[in-house]
């Protein structure tokens, strides 16, 4: 009798222990992302495998990443944070961190080490651009062009400066309606060395120089503000070439089979990743940490590349990138980080734009409105 009851108690305690642990974590999570193909890749690569292991967890998606900074600020002022994990670009993560709206974290504690034991901090390396930012992917802003609109007798455009060459390559261009990237490209094509671009852009003369270069093509530019604009304009034949995110061009070329090709030259690398809002209650924070540990490990990041052509942020994930889940094509050559594509790249300077964004944007918008 006594032995039996002792055994019962022990087994009850054994059963109870993991349950008690699980009770510390919330059962639902609200994840914020960009919607569309990108969010779909996250659902497939992160959320569904996680839910397969934790069937009690309910994941709600909110497609608000584009307004995440403003909404998080409003939530913070209202004292009611309803989001648990937010997908933002690195520049926004830095601002959220500056505003005290995103939580600072310790990579060693929150993120899984690589399979070979490399610490998360080394595996992500330089991509940990802010104390709050948990990188997921490397994407790039680059140019695509219509192969059937290349003028007769001319080589297809292959260099960034072909964008500014209206004589050889007449036709409309699509550029983003903001100074970031455009100013850098303009200076590069105006004879400024790559290393000096930001030094030049710091000065009012340098800013005028960039705008003067952009002036040369201003009449032929359609300015876009949503990532889907350029693919649409290319598909309609409205523009000859245009800048957009490389994943969008991938889907135009490979999924929709349009006569469009990538240029890759002077592609600007940027990062996208998670931030955890500051001030989450403990149970929700515990759940989010558990999810982030899972969703940013080497395999999960590599899996995401099977659904969208963005490069995983971990060094250790690169060799694991396989084929596209539906098209069955090898994704390696479509990654912005692929050596063939990354011959000439440009790295977005976060610090610079955090300082100069307001100033240069005012000039840029005034220039546009003229």
């Amino acid at each position: 009798m006594k032995l039996k009851s002792l055994m019962l108690t022990t087994s009850a305690a054994l059963v109870a222990a993991p349950v008690a642990f699980a009770q510390d974590m919330a059962d639902s999570m609200t994840l914020v992302s960009w919607g569309g193909a990108y969010q779909n890749s996250q659902v497939k690569a992160y959320a569904e495998p996680y839910q397969a292991e934790h069937s009690e967890v309910e994941i709600v998606w909110d497609e608000s990443s584009a307004e995440a900074v403003a909404k998080l600020r409003a939530m913070n002022e209202a004292g009611n944070i309803t989001w648990d994990l937010v997908d933002v670009v690195a520049a926004d993560a830095i601002r959220l961190c500056d505003e005290g709206l995103a939580m600072e974290y310790d990579p060693e504690e929150l993120l899984a080490p690589a399979p070979d034991g490399t610490s998360a901090e080394d595996d992500f390396g330089d991509l940990l651009v802010s104390d709050c930012f948990i990188p997921q992917i490397v994407y790039s802003t680059t140019f695509g062009y219509r192969t059937d609109m290349v003028p007769e007798g001319a080589e297809p455009p292959s260099e960034i400066c072909d964008v500014f060459d209206l004589e050889t390559y007449p036709g409309k261009r699509a550029l983003e309606k903001r100074p970031i990237n455009n100013m850098e490209w303009a200076l590069l094509c105006d004879g400024v060395a790559k290393e000096e671009v930001y030094d030049v852009l710091e000065t009012p003369e340098g800013q005028d120089q960039a705008l003067a270069k952009l002036d040369e093509i201003k009449d032929e530019v359609i300015w876009w503000s949503a990532g889907a604009d350029t693919p649409q304009l290319l598909a309609d034949g409205e523009v000859f070439m245009g800048s957009t995110y490389n994943g969008r061009l991938f889907s135009v070329i490979e999924e929709q089979d349009q006569p469009v090709a990538m240029m890759w030259d002077a592609q600007v690398f940027d990062l996208d990743g998670w931030i955890i809002p500051e001030g989450l209650p403990e149970d929700r924070l515990a759940r989010v940490k558990d999810f982030v540990y899972f969703a940013t490990d080497t395999q999960r990041l590599a899996d995401q590349a099977a659904y969208i052509s963005y490069g995983p942020a971990r060094e250790s994930s690169a060799p694991l990138v396989g084929e596209h889940a539906e098209l069955g094509i090898d994704m390696g050559p479509h990654m912005p980080t692929d050596p063939d594509n990354a011959e000439n790249t440009f790295v977005y300077n976060y610090e610079f734009w955090a300082d100069y964004r307001d100033d240069i944007d005012a000039k840029f918008q005034a220039w546009l409105a003229q």
Binding site: R95, Y356, D361, A366
Partner: protein
């Protein structure tokens, strides 16, 4: 019998009012059944009636106050609010009062000492970067300057003071010594800077859920103590209280120590701290309320020197305000031109036909705004339907297709289409009430078709035009998504800039100021409209 012949409309009996008046005139106040004067009792009943009415509408009133008026008021308030500087850097703001920007030199050591303590506390609470973002709107570069300084401010050479104090007497290392010293009443007269820094220290310790008596004091406390001892030697000498001996011993020793220049420490982080422009910006924005955002909204700027115009290549807001007004008026005008005949047709055709036509007006009204805007893209773009037809007809050369979108034209066309129902519906409901017999009567008296329309029909339809115009204009002036999608660079509105500042640059103060100006412009136009047309002449049917 006479009463019966008077008819129902004639008041034969006394009305309550008359009765009271007559009664009062005759023999003092009339009393109600309970003995109170009838007048007062009636007033009370009326008041009760009013209260009941107020109670009935109170849910709506509270709803509007909470969800509409309060958020708008809060947003408007942001256009002048500027507490972040004085909240984040309270000591610096006070110390900077004596500094003259026009001297052309960076402030002296006292300001840097105040700034040092402020930054230590701000860094602990992570609010220095927020202030950096705020001031970066005014002076480019401050954002990273604050971020950088926040990282370095805890690692100053001021640990030399700490070591010197501890070398002098180990009691200085003990938090309890500090705690005792700081509890002496009147300590803030003897050691003003230290006492103030101690306040910050208590808040920092509390934030970290630690206990004051156990936490080792940080360098900045020793720094302020050193400064106080150097400045207030006399007061310390006559100081009586706990730890007085300790303090006097230190006061005697500090004169021989090598001072650490805080100014140098800050300049080591970044040379910009020697730039009077930076300090001028902090000084100019230290009051709790600022006109800065409003100045920015009209292409002016507030600098340390005073108010000046923005550089020419950054002026944009006045242009956008003018453009918004101009385009809204254009859209309103084209809505009148297109909507009037349609409404006329609708109200004069037989019911069966006009109902079908009405559906055609309402169908686009029920369609999503984005769908309609995108449809215009498909129609108007250079490879679009209209250009294709024109090229096919040979009216336009293939190499010279018309540019009809991503400019003002595109915005006006798309928005006219979207806002047309708001013109047609009020016009229609007003025209429905104009009896056709009036026009017929005019014609029978010899008026031509035109005269009958212009002199008889049109004046009666003016209230509909008024209502439609106000609706369309006010909707147009705040429109955002359509200009964003089809406006290109020349067809965008001020609202697109407001949206940018709300969601992208996070400069909510500037967005609030722009919004306030827009609201004021609308109210002024409404007033002008009332003066010219008269708001009584507006009718929705």
């Amino acid at each position: 019998m006479t009463d019966a012949t008077a008819g129902p409309d004639v008041k034969t009996g006394p009305t309550p009012d008359n009765a009271i008046r007559e009664a009062e005139a005759a023999s003092g106040p009339v009393l109600a059944a309970d003995g109170t004067p009838l007048k007062r009792s009636l007033q009370r009943a009326l008041r009760r009636e009013k209260m009941r009415a107020l109670m009935l509408i109170s849910p709506l009133l509270i709803f509007i106050l909470v969800t509409f008026i309060a958020p708008i008021a809060d947003m408007l308030f942001r256009s002048v609010e500027n507490q972040s500087v004085s909240e984040t850097l309270p000591r610096t703001v006070v110390a900077l009062k004596d500094w003259d920007y026009n001297s052309g030199e960076a402030p002296d050591e006292d300001v840097f000492a105040a700034f040092y303590v402020d930054m230590i506390e701000a860094e602990e609470f992570k609010i220095h970067t927020r202030l950096g973002t705020r001031l970066n709107y005014e002076h480019t570069g401050i954002s990273s300057l604050f971020r950088q300084t926040g990282r370095a401010v805890g690692r100053f050479d001021t640990d030399e003071y700490t070591d010197a104090f501890v070398d002098l007497n180990e009691a200085w290392e003990d938090p309890v010594t500090w705690l005792n010293l700081m509890q002496v009443s009147g300590i803030e007269d003897v050691l003003p800077e230290t006492a103030s820094a101690w306040q910050s220290w208590s808040r920092i310790v509390e934030e970290n859920n630690d206990v004051l008596a156990e936490e080792e004091p940080e360098d900045f406390l020793y720094t302020t103590l050193y400064r106080d001892l150097m400045a207030n030697g006399d007061a310390v000498a006559s100081f009586e209280g706990d730890e007085a001996a300790l303090l006097q011993e230190a006061a005697a020793a500090v004169g021989e120590w090598e001072p650490v220049s805080l100014k140098e420490q800050f300049l080591d982080i970044d040379e910009d701290w020697a730039d009077p422009e930076i300090w001028g910006t902090i000084q100019a924005f230290s009051p709790n309320y600022t006109p800065g955002y409003f100045l920015n909204s009209v292409d002016l700027q507030m600098t340390a020197d005073g108010i000046s115009a923005q550089p020419e290549n950054q002026r944009i807001y006045l242009l956008l305000f003018k453009r918004t007004l101009f385009m809204s008026l254009m859209i309103m005008g084209s809505c009148i031109l297109l909507g009037y005949p349609v409404a006329y047709l609708l109200s004069n055709l037989p019911m069966r036909v006009s109902n079908v036509l009405m559906i055609l007006v309402l169908l686009p009204f029920w369609t999503s705004l984005l769908v309609r805007t995108s449809a215009w893209k498909v129609l108007l773009q250079q490879q679009g339907v209209i250009n294709d037809i024109l090229v096919w007809l040979g009216i336009v050369a293939d190499s010279n297709r018309l540019v009809m979108i991503n400019n003002q034209f595109g915005t006006i066309v798309a928005m006219t289409h979207i806002l047309l129902p708001f013109m047609i519906l009020p016009l229609y409901s007003v025209m429905k009430t104009i009896p056709p017999s009036y026009v017929r009567a005019a014609k029978s008296l010899g008026a031509t078709n035109w005269t009958a329309f212009w002199r008889v029909y049109f004046p009666q339809s003016v209230p509909g035009i008024g209502a439609g115009s106000i609706l369309v204009f006010i909707l147009a002036i705040g429109y955002y998504i359509t200009p964003e999608l089809v406006g290109g660079t020349t067809g965008t509105f001020i609202s697109n800039r407001i949206a940018y500042h709300i969601s992208s640059s996070l400069n909510w103060g500037l967005a609030a100021a722009l919004g306030t100006i827009l609201l004021a412009v609308v109210l002024v136009l409404y007033w002008v409209y009332d003066k010219i047309v008269g708001i009584d002449n507006v009718s929705l049917g």
